[in-house]
Every structure is written in structure tokens, then in C-alpha cells.
């Protein structure tokens, strides 16, 4: 969506409720700001909003101190994606303050900091920039307007005759710093409206800007949840059932209690908690604990058998997610010859009309494995309780903690720390690790920090769901698109969650995103995307790029297979399919051009490409791949192009592309969780491999100049890399690898 030509005028009386007060210690200006529900319409249209709810006093987004400090409160969580820098940039685009004075804090959990689309306070879906582009700019514009008015009043001139310059209001030869004006500005009436700059006048948005959280993160000062220290703090670990949904039958605490430093051993709903003076005591106590478990409802789960059952289901029709034309008729052909997983070079000869191609793709369960293991600290107070944790789901967690203690939500004060990675794991639909910490806190009379060990994390569930895709397609006599049928078998992430209302007609949109809305699929006049939602009882969750993490692999691999089967160049074949998706095609062409598509790759290497749209951004990647003598896939170079619309911080977008590629490569080359007899086999980084530095390819990122509505950057870099690598492996070896992680049959 384009920004309206005149998006610059913001009528505050109609469009938002706003509040400021001189409440900061030492005096200063506080700008609180609340954009009411329905912001998506508000930002890009001119409709009047519903009445804004009252704003709690804590709802400040910006504080300007008499000491010249400029403090930005983040409604979203910093988990590596860079919002600690981009949201202050948005404020300063309008505020024009001295960047070196900026300080950043996570906002407390409160409804007023709700996501402008999703209402709850959360970070996810690669939506922070699109959620906040207007809100944080408006905060800056209101503050600047008040500072100009304060200067005008002081000097007896019209504010219109003053201008701002890097933290000063200037009028002729007179200058006043923002800090010196803050207290006076805080006493002024609010402006009836503020003007936002036109995009062509932007000076901050689009400027490569280094991270504001760098100093604390290179000195060890940054406070992650696991670093919280409080007087009298205990540390707890929990013994959990080895099968999902299992329960404690009985336990013997004697040996655990005998471990020096252990203070309490007790049952909680999720297992047996061991609390001690420090982590080592708690961990040793848990090692000594004897627990007899009641198995969960699925004690025989075997991921290999599960995958085969998914393959069987994929033979039958599922619920319709998207359909056009008559795919059943289009796919009927006399000489149906399925592609097999042993398909080898040379490619099939050019198609005879109506030869359907059939292929199945499979992806395993995956753990998020953020570097900071899950943790949460809880302190009970006279007023209620305090919680410290790195979370992507503040108000959901706050509400659930209140439920555990029987408190009002407002009695739970939740402090967001830095997140040592999130990737979706810290946006838990059941607030699993936070609720567990609350239960632990109920069992002790001191503040307590719950820490999950790495083993707890890898085996603790809430995985990227396993998925099988069965694809069938037929091309017309000229190699053009005719029929496409895709059947997806996977678990629903939303079923049983507070977001279950998003499931419509049996379709969980997170299971089919990237397929049902694929421009490739739409190019086939007869197409149908179907879903079988299965429930094997394994807890699943959004994992960086969610459904796109498997749909892109299936769709882009299959398009590549079709290109080769038709005897077409993979780039040319895609260009034809993307004729009606010019923005997608342009990104693909940019990446292909920069990668030297069509020129010979370095000796021993081949290139593969993929393009995929997710979270409002389009990313294309060309992977340059070799296979070493031990038959290991080595990715040497990735050329990445992204169209994310308005790009607030190019440095941040580049970093997110590198990051998404590294994350996706881990899944493409190594990632796999195995379940046997209901238990997770893998446990730590020795058997759940993560991409390491020597395996990181050289990544080049190209950002499309755009004034389109901003899309995301945190997730869209992940989906294309697995198919780009698989397609390169085919180009190099003639072997089509249809399962992740990518492995040769003979290695």
C-alpha cells in the first residue's frame, strides 16, 4: 500500500488520545501517546476512530529530561532484531534531538503499549516497524511542537518563526536546548494537530544507523533475564516428564534435599521444582531427584512413523485453503509418471502436454534454541508480584501470572529484559516458562529465578511443526502453467490457543501461508491448496517465519523441478510464472543479476535460486553451493535481495538478512528433532547442530529502494534459503533432495 500523498497531517483530537505531564524527577517533558484500536485503517485512511480508552499514567513513550537526556520507551522487545535502534530513529525523524543523548528502555507491561494491530503487547510477525511507523513518529512530532511553543513563549515570538536543530530550538541568533525547554513545554496545552514530514524530507529514516545497544552488549553489562539478581534470590530448575503431557506419579526428594545449597523440593503442575542458593545447587539437586512419571497421552510417538502417516494422509483430499478452476480435470493425464526421490540427471525431456509431475517434501520438528535458555524471575510483594523476563508476549504473560496468584492483572508488574534471542519461542501461547516460574514462586518464600537448562529447552516442546507437502502439477504444451495441487499435512499452531478464532473453515492460516497466497500458485489457472490438520500431541509454536519455513521450501523446490522438467532455465521459468507479480519478479531479477546468474559459477559450484514473500516483504536469494568429498553440502555465497518497502535502517535490514540466512541454513543443513517412544532424542548442541562460523557463507544484501508500506525484516530472510540451496544442489549433482535437513541418500 502506498502512503497517501498527504499523509503528513495528524489531527490529534480526532485520531489519538494524547497526554503529557511534568512528572519526571528533576523536571522534564513526558509524552504519552495512545493510538486507539483500528490503527491499520487510521494510518492509511482518514476514518475516525472509536473513542480511545483511558491511558494509564505509565504510558509514556518519550521523556526529555532537563539534563538533555532523551529516553524512548519501547512497546516492543529487543531480541536482536534492532528495534532498540529503529523505534528511536522513528521518534527522531520528527523530534530532531541530539542522537548521542538517546537512551532506551523497555516499557512496562500495560495495555497502553499494545501492538497497534494485535492489541496485546507483543513482538512478533516481523511487524514492529509497520506497527510503529506512525505512532513513534507522532510522538516525536508532538514533543517537537511543544518544545517550539515553549521557546516561542520564552522569546515572545511565534513558534512558526522558530526551527529545530539537533536538540536545540533556534530563532535568529537565539538558541535553547531541548532540556532547558522541557519543563516549560510540559506545562503547555497540547497541539490540536501535528504535521509529519513528507517522505522526501526524511533525514533519519533510510540512513544506515549503528545499534544503540552496542555499549552494554560488548561489555557484559546488558541485562538479560538470566542476569537478574535480587536480594535473597533463589535459583530453581524443574524436572519435567519425559513424554509430553506426562505427570508426576511419585517422587522422593530426600537425595535432592541432601545436596548442599538446595532449599526446597516440591511438586508443581509441570513437574518437580528444585530451588537452591544458586543454579549449581538446584541443578545438582535435580540430578539427585528420583521421580516416577505417569506417561503422557502419546507415549509411543515416533517422528519417522508420524512422517509416513502424514504422507498417507497427503494422498487424500484435505480442507480447501485456496482454489480456482478445475484442478482435478487439469491433472488427469494418461501417462502419469511420478518424479521419484532418486530422480537423476539428465532432466526429464521437455514435457508432452498434460504430463503431471508429483513430488513430496517433508520437514521435521525444530526447536528454536535461542542462545539464552528460557528463564523467568518472580518476586512476590505486598502489592502483588514482580516478574522479570525476556518475553515477546508481555500482556499475555502478565495476565497468566495474575491467574496463577489470583491477582488482578495490574498487580503484576512485568519488567522486560533484553532477550537472548526469541525466534518465536518467547511468544508462548501458554506462557509456559513464565507460568511455571509463578508456580515455583508459590512454593518458596523468597524471590526465585527459574532457569531451563539447554536440555530442558531442546526437549521442552513448542516446536516448529513437522510437515509433509504433496505437490502435483501439469504444464501446458508450451511449458506454461496449467494445474497445481498442493496438499499440506501438519499441525495447527493456533488450535487450542487464544488465537484459535483465526482458524476459518478448518484452515489455520499459519499452516498454508506462503502456499495459498503464492504468486506461483496463482499463475496456474487451475489450482487447489489443501490442508490436513493433524494433532499428534506434540506442542508446537511459531518458529521464525512460521508456515513460510516449510511452504517456501516445498513451493520453490517444486517450481524448480517444473522448470527443469520443462527444460527451461530456472530464472526464465519463474519470470514467466511471475508475470502478474512484478514486484516479486523484480526482486528475483535483482538477486539473479547481482549473483551473475547465467555466467559460469566458480569451478565445482552451482547456483540455485528462490524468491518468497512473507510478512510484507519479498526476499530472493541465490545460493552458490559445492559438495565436498565427504558429500557434505557447503554453501559458499548467498546473494540476497529484499524489497521491504520503506527501509528504516538499512544496517538493520542487512543484519536481519544475514541472520535469517544463518537461521534458515541451520534448518536446511542440520536441524532435526527426532521423537522415539514419545521422547525427544536430541538434547543439546552436540546432537542438535547449529550453523557455526566456518560454515557461514559470504552474504551480499541488496535492498530495493521503495516508498511502499514497510514490511518485516526479522523473518522474511529465512524462508528462501533452504530451497535456494536444494535447487543449487540439484543443479550441481542432479539429485533432488526433498526433505530437510538436506541429506544425500548415500551419506
Amino acid at each position: 500500500m502506498r502512503l497517501p500523498a498527504d499523509s503528513s497531517r495528524t489531527d490529534l483530537s480526532r485520531r489519538a488520545f494524547l497526554k503529557r505531564s511534568a512528572m519526571v524527577a528533576g523536571g522534564g517533558l513526558v509524552v504519552g501517546f495512545f493510538v486507539p484500536p483500528g490503527l491499520r485503517r487510521l494510518v492509511f485512511a482518514q476514518e475516525s476512530p472509536a473513542a480511545a480508552p483511558a491511558m494509564p499514567p505509565a504510558n509514556a513513550f518519550l521523556r526529555i529530561g532537563s539534563d538533555e537526556s532523551v529516553t524512548i520507551l519501547l512497546a516492543h522487545s529487543e531480541m536482536g532484531q534492532g528495534v532498540w535502534t529503529t523505534l528511536p530513529m522513528l521518534v527522531n525523524e520528527e523530534l530532531d534531538a541530539d542522537w548521542s543523548r538517546f537512551r532506551v528502555e523497555h516499557a512496562p507491561a500495560a495495555g497502553a503499549y499494545g501492538h497497534t494491530f494485535f492489541k496485546i503487547q507483543m513482538t512478533g510477525g516481523s511487524t514492529t516497524t509497520s506497527s510503529e511507523l506512525d505512532r513513534y513518529r507522532q510522538v516525536g512530532a508532538v514533543a517537537r511542537s511543544l518544545l517550539l511553543a515553549a521557546a516561542g513563549a520564552r522569546w515572545g515570538v511565534a513558534p512558526d518563526g522558530c526551527r529545530t536543530e539537533n536538540g536545540f530550538v533556534v530563532c535568529g541568533a537565539r538558541r535553547a536546548s531541548y532540556g532547558s525547554l522541557a519543563e516549560a513545554a510540559a506545562k503547555l496545552p497540547l497541539p490540536a494537530s501535528v504535521s509529519l514530514k513528507r517522505p522526501e524530507d526524511w533525514k533519519v529514516i533510510g540512513k544506515p544507523t549503528r545499534r544503540l545497544d552496542m555499549p552494554e552488549k560488548i561489555t557484559g553489562r546488558a541485562q538479560f533475564g538470566i542476569d537478574v539478581r535480587l536480594p535473597g534470590l533463589l535459583t530453581a530448575v524443574v524436572a519435567r516428564p519425559p513424554t509430553f503431557g506426562g505427570k508426576v506419579r511419585r517422587f522422593d526428594a530426600a537425595a535432592a534435599k541432601a545436596v548442599p545449597g538446595v532449599r526446597a523440593v516440591f511438586e508443581i503442575p509441570s513437574g518437580v521444582a528444585v530451588a537452591g542458593e544458586h543454579f549449581w545447587a538446584a541443578k545438582r539437586g535435580r540430578d539427585a531427584l528420583e521421580v516416577e512419571w505417569e506417561p503422557g497421552p502419546h507415549p509411543d510417538t515416533d517422528s519417522g512413523q508420524l512422517r509416513e502417516s502424514y504422507r498417507e494422509q497427503a494422498q487424500t483430499a484435505g480442507a480447501e485453503a485456496k482454489s480456482a478452476g478445475d484442478v482435478a480435470r487439469a491433472l488427469v493425464a494418461p501417462d502419469a509418471t511420478p518424479l521419484t526421490s532418486q530422480s537423476t540427471r539428465p532432466p526429464l525431456p521437455p514435457l508432452t502436454p498434460l504430463l503431471p509431475l508429483i513430488a513430496e517434501y517433508a520437514v521435521p520438528y525444530l526447536a528454536h534454541a535461542p542462545m539464552e535458555p528460557l528463564n523467568c524471575t518472580v518476586r512476590r510483594t505486598a502489592q502483588g508480584c514482580e516478574v522479570w523476563t525476556g518475553t515477546q508476549f508481555q500482556t499475555v504473560d502478565q495476565h497468566r501470572v495474575a491467574e496463577v496468584f489470583g491477582l488482578e492483572t495490574a498487580q503484576v508488574v512485568l519488567h522486560t529484559t533484553f532477550l537472548g534471542g526469541g525466534f518465536g519461542r518467547r511468544a508462548n501461547i501458554a506462557s509456559d516458562f513464565v507460568v511455571e516460574a509463578a508456580h515455583v514462586a508459590k512454593g518458596v518464600d523468597r524471590p526465585v529465578k527459574l532457569i531451563w537448562t539447554r536440555e530442558d529447552d531442546i526437549r521442552g516442546g513448542y516446536y516448529r511443526p513437522m510437515a509433509v507437502h504433496r505437490l502435483e502439477a501439469v504444464l501446458d504444451g508450451q511449458g506454461g502453467p496449467l494445474g497445481w495441487r498442493q496438499r499440506i499435512v501438519t499441525q495447527s499452531i493456533l488450535a487450542g490457543s487464544p488465537f484459535a478464532t483465526f482458524i476459518q473453515n478448518g484452515i489455520d492460516p499459519t499452516a498454508v501461508e506462503g502456499a495459498a497466497d503464492s504468486p506461483y500458485v496463482a499463475a496456474f489457472p487451475h489450482h487447489r491448496v489443501e490442508l490436513h490438520a493433524v494433532d499428534p500431541g506434540v506442542p508446537v509454536l511459531w518458529w521464525r517465519s512460521v508456515g513460510h519455513s516449510h511452504t517456501a521450501f516445498a513451493v520453490e523446490s517444486f517450481v524448480d523441478e517444473l522448470a527443469h522438467a520443462a527444460g527451461r532455465d530456472p530464472l526464465e521459468f519463474r519470470r514467466v510464472l511471475l508475470a502478474r507479480a512484478p514486484r516479486v519478479r523484480a526482486v528475483l531479477e535483482l538477486a539473479a543479476g547481482k549473483a551473475g546468474w547465467g555466467s559460469p559459477p566458480p569451478k565445482g559450484r552451482a547456483r540455485g535460486l528462490a524468491v518468497h514473500e512473507s510478512f510484507g516483504s519479498i526476499v530472493a536469494q541465490v545460493a552458490e553451493v559445492a559438495v565436498d568429498p565427504e558429500r557434505r553440502i557447503r554453501v559458499h555465497r548467498v546473494v540476497c535481495a529484499i524489497d521491504c518497502g520503506i527501509c528504516v535502517n538499512p544496517l538493520g535490514v542487512r543484519a536481519q538478512m544475514e541472520s535469517g540466512i544463518a537461521f534458515g541454513l541451520t534448518a536446511a543443513l542440520y536441524g532435526e528433532l527426532t521423537l522415539r517412544e514419545g521422547r525427544v532424542v536430541e538434547s543439546n548442541f552436540h546432537d542438535y547442530r547449529i550453523l557455526r562460523l566456518p560454515e557461514m557463507p559470504q552474504v551480499e544484501v541488496h535492498i530495493v529502494e521503495s516508498r511502499e508500506k514497510p514490511g518485516g525484516a526479522g523473518e522474511p530472510g529465512t524462508p528462501p534459503i533452504a530451497p535456494a540451496v536444494a535447487n543449487a544442489v540439484f543443479a550441481l549433482t542432479g539429485e533432488r533432495l526433498r526433505e530437510l535437513p538436506l541429506r544425500f541418500a548415500d551419506s
Binding site: E78, H278, W280, A369, P370, P373, G420, G421, E658
Partner: protein, 152 residues
């Protein structure tokens, strides 16, 4: 036992099997050194002992008594060690959780090899996982730190 951490002496009474990591974090309050795996697989807990990189999650504190332990907090008083300056220049960090370990491993490498090759960097930092994937900038920043140290 008596530990020498960042130039300061600490007398601590802890279980004999307690890893250095947890003494640093839970007893001395030096939380810059991180727990990631507990089995020397990820490098988040890397500190220097007499200048050499050590995975503190598996090293019993008792074995380093009296030896010079350096953690991220003790690397430089103002956060301006050449490695830290290079990290800032190249905007290396993302979530930041692994970076203490990455930086300590890089410092140890540069002490041993002032002009490391890419292969040297691969070998020295292969044990430090970054889930955010900052590897490309880490590589660049190690080279940059080598330049800064040469010019110092």
C-alpha cells in the same frame, strides 16, 4: 578457595565440583559471562585463564584458584579494547547473548596470532555459536581489531 578475577582477589566457599561459570555468575555477580549449554558446545561462557580461552561451564572453579581469570567485565575499563571498538565499528551484535564469549575468544586469538587468516578465525571461533548469525560481521571485526591493535 581464592580466585583472582579481573585483578581482584575473592575468597569463596563453594562446592568442589562447582563450575567457574556459576561461581562467576551466582557468587561473584559477574553476569557478563553466559550460560548456553553447560557442556562446552557453544562458547557463551568463554573466559580467559592466564590469557587462554576456557569454557567456564565445564571448568571446575577449584582448578583455576590463584590463576588470572579475565571475564568480559575485566577486558577494558571503558569498553574500548580494540576488539570492542572493532565490534562497534562493524555493528556486530544482535541479541548480544553470545557476544561476551565471542569477544573473549577473539581476544585470545589475537593475542596468539596478531594477524589471523580466515582459517585462523574459523579455527578459533568455531566453538562459539551465534544463533542470530552475526558470523560474517564477527569475521570482519576480528580482522579490523587486528588492524587497530597493530596501529596501537
Amino acid at each position: 578457595m581464592r580466585l583472582l578475577v579481573n585483578g581482584q582477589k575473592h575468597d569463596v566457599a563453594v562446592p568442589g565440583d562447582m563450575p567457574l561459570l556459576w561461581v562467576l555468575r551466582d557468587v561473584l555477580g559477574l553476569t557478563g559471562t553466559k550460560y548456553g549449554c553447560g557442556m562446552a558446545q557453544c562458547g557463551a561462557c568463554t573466559v580467559l585463564v592466564d590469557g587462554s580461552p576456557v569454557r567456564s561451564c565445564v571448568r571446575r572453579a577449584a582448578t583455576v584458584a590463584g590463576r588470572a581469570v579475565t571475564t568480559i567485565e575485566g577486558l577494558s575499563p571503558r569498553g574500548d579494547h580494540p576488539v570492542q571498538r572493532a565490534w562497534t565499528e562493524l555493528d556486530v551484535v544482535q541479541c548480544g547473548y553470545c557476544q561476551s564469549g565471542q569477544i573473549m575468544a577473539a581476544v585470545a586469538l589475537l593475542e596468539a596470532k596478531p594477524k589471523p587468516s580466515d582459517a585462523d578465525i574459523d579455527a578459533a571461533l568455531a566453538g562459539n555459536i551465534c544463533r542470530c548469525g552475526t558470523y560474517q560481521r564477527i569475521r570482519g571485526a576480528v580482522h579490523r581489531a587486528a588492524e587497530l591493535m597493530e596501529g596501537a
